[in-house]
Structures are given as structure tokens and as C-alpha cells.
């Protein structure tokens, strides 16, 4: 198939549609996934093709949405549960962390929970402290959960399709500020393998490690730095579990410097975990401390000025890289 121009949102929708056509057991369960078409439009019109029996609208009962998906996944369906905002993880963490994540292990490998929890997070819409968080650290901290965070339309499509073939629960966190982002992609092209990071830009002076929307912020920074003859390598992790440290280590061993960029809060978060791993694994190669650029340790404020200042910016990445290189 030739390249087509598609948004991140429509790539996700296409992935669901293709998966549901290929596998009758795939059902979507969540609030407003049917007639409404999803709060962010990802399931728009799917009910026309697949009906209310497969686009299952629920009451506003997030813990039961996830719990029902767990039970359905154990008994023959492959549910996609939609959690409208990742912030609602606070409501569902028992079903996700104590049930879905542990059932295979606790039961001695008898059965898995092949479900996908689709949700979206991040800032960019002045949605406030309860609708703008980046909570991937909670998921990454829970053994038994896979975690995908696509930055591009192509990855949104391929990672979601792959998630729907896995034997284990996958938390699939989209970014609310990426839904309208357009890209030319060939959805039939061979995808990057699941669990592998991708080098979005090659460089020699320093390695930027990031994922989700921060990939685009970091790419903008890398372009500005290139104009100043600073060559940075940019790695998009794509999945945080599995975590492809081999790609990161190979790059940092070559560049000798690393900056980790994450939208989530700094303390105890994904950036901290990545920095610790790079520090342990690449110690002999490092010419500077591994720097974490992450969200401030504050609730996300509504004011657009404050909101955008609470997370790493391209300008901050540029300034930080220049200081690290003393240029």
C-alpha cells in the first residue's frame, strides 16, 4: 500500500478496526466508546461496522471496566478497555496492578490476561491537575504490565496492533496533544519490532533518550542544536516495558553524554529510572553526569503559561545540552 497522510488518532482507529476485522474476540469496553465515538474520537463510527456488542458502552465505573476486561480476557475475549484519562488510574489501580498484572504469576502460569488498557495522558489542553498527568511511572513500577507510549502515527498503529497479539496485559498510553498530528505513513510497511527503541536522529555529541510527545520536543531541540554544529542522537523508546536498554547503551557508549527527557514528574519517575540505568551501565564511558529533564514536582496547573512551563521545553533541552558540552 502506498503512503497515506493520517493523523495519530486515525491511525489508532485504523488499528482497532483492522484488529476487530481480523479477530472476532476483540471487543472495546469503556465510557462513550460507542455512539459518542470516544472522548477523543479514536473509536468514531466503529459501532456502525461492529455494533454495540463489540463497542460496549459502560456506565461511569472505571474499576469495573478494568475488572470486567480482566475477567473477559481470562475467558476467551481479547478486550480493549478504554480509560478516558490516565489520571483515572487512581480509580483502577487495584484491578490493574493487583489483578491483571499478577494473575499469571500468582496462578503459576496457568493463564494470562491478554487485554489492552488504552488511555491517554499528558499536558497541552489546560485540562487541569486531574486530567493532564503523565503517570507512566506508576505502570513501569508494576511488574507484569507491558507499557507502550507511541510518539508517531505509524507507531500508534503498529504498537496497538502488536499489543492485541500479546499474551499479557498492555497499558497503552496515548498523548492527548498528538491526536491531531498528521504524518505520511505506509501502514503496510514492516514495523519496528515490539520492544525495540528507534533512533529518530543520529548524532555524535550527546544522546537524548525520550518517548511519547517529548520525542517531538526533543527533535525540535536537536534541529536547533544542529544549526549550532552540535550533533545529538535521539532515541525514542516506544515501549517502557519491555525497555530496550541495549539501544540506549550502545548510543551513550559512543557519545559519552546522555540527557533523559520525560513529561512525568521528576522524582521517582521514568527519567530517574533511565538515568540510574545509564549511570550503572555506561559509567566508564560517561564524560558528564546523566541529566534528567522532567516535569516539575507539582500538580499540573490550568493556566497555559504555567502548564507549558511545568514540563521540559525545546529551549530547555537546547540550553542544557550546550551547558553540558560547554558550547
Amino acid at each position: 500500500m502506498a503512503e497515506t497522510e493520517i493523523t495519530y488518532r486515525d491511525a489508532l482507529r485504523q488499528a482497532l478496526q483492522d484488529a476487530m476485522r481480523a479477530d472476532d474476540t476483540v471487543v472495546v469496553i469503556g465510557e462513550e466508546v460507542g455512539a459518542y465515538g470516544g472522548a477523543y474520537g479514536v473509536t468514531r463510527d466503529l459501532i456502525t461496522e461492529f455494533g454495540a456488542g463489540r463497542l460496549i458502552d459502560t456506565p461511569i465505573s472505571e474499576p469495573a471496566i478494568v475488572g470486567v476486561a480482566v475477567g473477559a480476557a481470562m475467558t476467551g475475549l481479547r478486550p480493549v478497555a478504554e480509560l478516558m484519562y490516565v489520571d483515572f488510574l487512581g480509580l483502577v489501580m487495584d484491578q490493574l496492578a493487583n489483578q491483571a498484572a499478577k494473575i499469571r504469576y500468582m496462578f503459576g502460569g496457568q493463564i494470562g490476561v491478554p487485554m489492552v488498557l488504552r488511555t491517554q495522558g499528558g499536558t497541552g489542553r489546560s485540562a487541569g491537575a486531574q486530567h493532564s498527568q503523565s503517570l507512566e511511572g506508576w505502570i513501569m513500577h508494576t511488574p507484569g504490565l507491558r507499557l507502550a507510549m507511541p510518539a508517531t502515527a505509524a507507531d500508534a498503529y503498529h504498537l496497538l496492533r502488536h499489543s492485541l497479539t500479546l499474551p499479557d496485559p498492555v497499558v497503552f498510553i496515548e498523548h492527548k496533544s498528538l491526536y491531531t498530528r498528521k504524518e505520511r505513513v505506509d501502514l503496510d510497511a514492516e514495523p519496528t519490532p515490539w520492544g525495540k527503541a528507534v533512533v529518530r536522529r543520529q548524532g555524535n555529541d550527546l544522546t537524548l533518550v525520550t518517548y511519547s510527545r517529548m520525542v517531538h520536543v526533543a527533535l525540535a531541540a536537536a534541529e536547533q542544536l544542529a544549526k549550532q554544529d552540535i550533533s545529538v542522537e535521539l532515541i525514542d523508546l516506544r515501549t517502557l516495558n519491555p525497555l530496550d536498554m541495549a539501544t540506549v547503551i550502545a548510543s551513550v557508549e559512543r557519545t559519552g553524554r546522555a540527557v533523559v527527557v520525560s513529561e512525568g514528574p521528576l522524582t521517582g519517575g521514568v527519567a530517574s529510572e533511565l538515568a540510574a540505568r545509564i549511570g550503572e551501565e555506561c559509567f566508564d564511558y560517561l564524560q558528564a553526569p546523566v541529566i534528567r529533564l522532567a516535569g516539575e514536582d507539582i500538580p499540573i496547573p490550568v493556566s497555559p503559561d504555567l502548564e507549558s512551563a511545568s514540563i521540559p521545553t525545546a529551549a530547555l533541552i537546547v540550553a542544557t545540552v550546550r551547558r553540558m558540552l560547554r558550547r
Binding site: 456506565p59 469495573a64 470486567v68 480482566v70 475477567g71 500468582m106 496462578f107 503459576g108 507491558r146
Partner: protein, 348 residues
Amino acid sequence: MTPPDATPGPARANTRLPELYRTMRRIRTFEERVAELYARGLSAGSMLHLSIGEEGAAAGVAAAMRPEDSFTTHHRGHGIFLARGADPARMMAEIGGKEAGYCRGKGGSMHIADMALGHLGANAIVGGGIPHVVGAGLSYKRLGTDAISVAFFGDGAMQQGLLYESMNMAALWDLPVLFVCINNQYGMGTRIDRATRSIEFDRRAEAFGLAAAMVDGEDVEAVHRTAQALADGARGGKPGFMAISCFRFFGHGRMDKSPYRTAEEEATGRKRDPVSRARDALLSQGLNDAAALDALDAGIAREMDATIDFTAAADAPAGASMFRDVFGPGEPEPEPLQSRLDRILADA
């Protein structure tokens, strides 16, 4: 719904009381051996929750289920699993944390499960397994099977919000699901009258549109009749709820000395004994003589004694199995701490 006729007739040729008695006696004896396993230091930990006094609920409901049906239980679910056909030796081995157990020693008493018998899992989170049967019901309806799924939980879960989300969805979607509350009067140390002013649990379920009943758990035949009617309804797409009243003879777990209840309260409660009541009924109805029941009980005692010997002799899981089954077959496994250290500190 109106509970089925609870008045026992004269001795009936088709009574299932002998079978129900046998199930209950096996549960009681098994639980007594669990206490012994702990006392002998052979159990994995002390978080063992005995269902002595609650045998009527487990036996009565289990007898109304079919082989294709599935279920989840709470943390006090040994009896239910036994009543659904579990091998007591493999159960005891699991409670002992042994490789020969149902979950290869990784689940234990509170997380025992067996897909072959439809046991979707015991759960150590109060109410945690309830929505799973709604999901199972959704699968059965969508896949067109005749199975139902049954959630067993205690009176503690009656105060958990997730129960009501689950009952609401089951009713809304006409799912083949049965909710079974085993009300043993205590949520850990809190007696039910200190937990809620709403003890007519069936009214809560009726409010969501479920067929609902309350039944005395001391009368195993009444439990069975009620469960059968509700299970039949669930199989037809009308989800049901039943609350079975009984008395927890012993403390919450093995460490519980019951400071929250008096000796008199215990003595009175223990008179509500479904096992001795069934035995008396078998004798008075002429269905068994005392010698036959004694022989049956002795055979069960021998069977359950053997579960302790089996567990004592069984192997612990191999250390390398620790990293197995976090994810599915062939999927990348977590890296053990030691292998990471050996790599990072190779030159140190």
C-alpha cells in the same frame, strides 16, 4: 424474588443431602488439617482463613453449578474450591508453598486457582474478584456458551463500591452471573452491625434489578435450592444475588485471638453448625445410620491426613522459577538482580 419453599418435606428419594453432607464434612476436615499444617510449621505463612461454619454455603451453591461454569472466591475460599472438585492434596501443597500445588507454590491459600475446574482465582483484595465474573459472563454471552460465572465473597465486600459497579453492569447487560455473599457476620474483627445499618442485602441487589434472596447457611438444602433457582435464572440471562447467613467459628486468620467477640457470642454462634445439622437430618430421616456416617467421616479423615504427608514430602519450587510466568511463554523475562550486578561490576 420469593425464595423457594424452604420447608423440608419428609424423607425424599431424590434428596441430595448425603452428597451435600459428604462435601461439607470434607471441607471441615480439610480446614482442620490446614490449622494443623500451620501448627506444625508446614504452611507458607499464617494468612490462612478457615471456612469452618460456612460449609453449607460452599456445598449448597457448588452443587447448583455445572462443570462448564466458572467462579472466583474471596480469601476464605478453600471450601468452595473443594466443593467444586479440587484435589485436596494439591490444595494443601499450594497452602504449603510447594511446587506440587495448584499454582506451583506462587499463589498460596489466598490466590489459589485452577482453570480446569473453572476456578478463576481466589482473591486477597476484598471484592477484587467480583468484576471478573462479570467479564466471564460477558465472554459467555458473546461466545454463545451456556456457562454461568459465580462470584463468592464475604459480608466485608458488601461495603465495597466495586460490588455495586459489577452488579449494575451484570443487570444492565443481562449477563449469566450469580453473586454469592457468604455472610459470616465478621469482616475481620468488625461484626456486621458495626459495618452497616443496611443488613437486608437482598434489597440492595434488587435495587439494581437482580433476582435476589437471603437464606440460612445452616440449612444446606435450602442453600442448594435457592442457588439452583438463581443459577437457572442466571443461565437464562437474569443475573442473581444471594446472601447466605452463617457463623465464622474461628478467628479471621491464624493469628487472630478474637478479642472483638465474647466467649458467649462464640458459643452461641457455633450452635449454627451446618455439618452437625445435616448429620442429624440424615439420621432422623433414616437416610444413613450412625455407623455408616462414622465410617464415611473416618475415610475423609484419612484422606485429609494424607494431604499433610503429601505436602510435607513435596518439593519447594526451584529458585529459577521465581522469574517464570511474570509474562507469557516466549516473552522477555525480567532480568535477575544478580545477573545485572555481574554485568555491571564485571571489571570491579
